[in-house]
Symmetry: C2
């Protein structure tokens, strides 16, 4: 696996372009131009644009799973692992300010297009949701775990949305601090239902 195959290059280029410009706005010519192959050529690799989209979603899902596993290895407490998630917003702050969240943006676009792949794109959200839920279970919030996971996911989406609209890095850092304080609060409350308002 010294150098990537043409197929891998196409998927990588499409992945980035779909993020930067959006799925609809990215043409075959754009991708071909990036990979430096002729436009007709990659009909050998992909029969349609939807096939490229499927491949991109698959790759994103794999990368997401790998990232979640890495976080589990990097920190040995559920609280620390949840912080990895929150800090992702800071690590990716430049891309987020320029292009928003890749998962949220793709889901929103496919939803408006009523595209058949919207369920597949939504699965990436579900990967995060289930992983977060498991961390909250380990943190002791067994009954609320799913609500807490959705809450944290929503907070991160909101931050990405406004950071993109206002191009405000300070806002990202401030909100991540708020999330970390909230996580401390959830942890300290342990298995009680507090923190979810119920």
């Amino acid at each position: 696996m010294a150098e990537p195959t043409t197929r891998e290059q196409i998927v990588a280029a499409a992945d980035r372009l779909f993020y930067e410009r959006g799925f609809e706005k990215t043409s075959f010519a754009d991708i071909a131009g990036e990979v430096k192959i002729s436009r007709g050529n990659f009909y050998h690799h992909f029969k349609s644009k939807d096939e490229i989209l499927s491949a991109v979603i698959e790759v994103r899902a794999s990368k997401t799973e790998a990232m979640l596993e890495k976080w589990e290895k990097q920190r040995d407490t559920p609280g620390g692992q949840l912080r990895c998630f929150a800090e992702m917003l800071i690590r990716n702050r430049n891309d987020i300010q320029a292009f928003g969240c890749p998962v949220g943006a793709l889901c929103a676009e496919l939803s408006k297009l009523d595209h058949p792949a919207q369920a597949d794109a939504g699965m990436i959200f579900t990967l995060f949701r289930q992983w977060l839920r498991q961390r909250f279970v380990e943190l002791g919030a067994v009954e609320d775990a799913d609500s807490l996971a959705m809450h944290l996911l929503a907070r991160s989406q909101g931050i990405a949305s406004l950071a993109n609209a206002f191009r405000d890095e300070k806002f990202i850092r401030h909100e991540v601090r708020l999330i970390e304080a909230w996580l401390d609060e959830v942890r300290s409350r342990g298995a009680t239902k507090a923190g979810t308002g119920e």
Copy 2:
């Protein structure tokens, strides 16, 4: 002002279609079809798609200002007025699940297109931001008011994003309850800096 002018009809149709399908995905023919006028007649009112976009953004800004004023009249406490904002998510739950937040979606799309009107679209966020900030000032959180406004705006964006991805009405209702509990907390803390993590 018994019946709307052709121009107003065009803008109203474009407004809805931009929300439901997105700006790029909406063609002149789509709008003309809705208004039932010929495409030629169209050019009498708008020379380009960007002109329609400007008109739509202007109308949305006006409607937003009117809505904010209405909330100020409906409730006589800043806490009650802030609840109007949060409850907007429940009032518009069906549209939000189907199409997301109109403000956030347009800003995100124009950002990806690097469209000249993205600053104008962002102004609608700013309208909300400034209005929310003023409510928090009146609530006693003078120094934090802008951070609190951004925080609330972000929460609402995140809720819209996930409600759209998961088509989950219960989630919306639960998160709005969390916001209301958070607002009570902010109010009870009054002018202190608590609640923002600083």
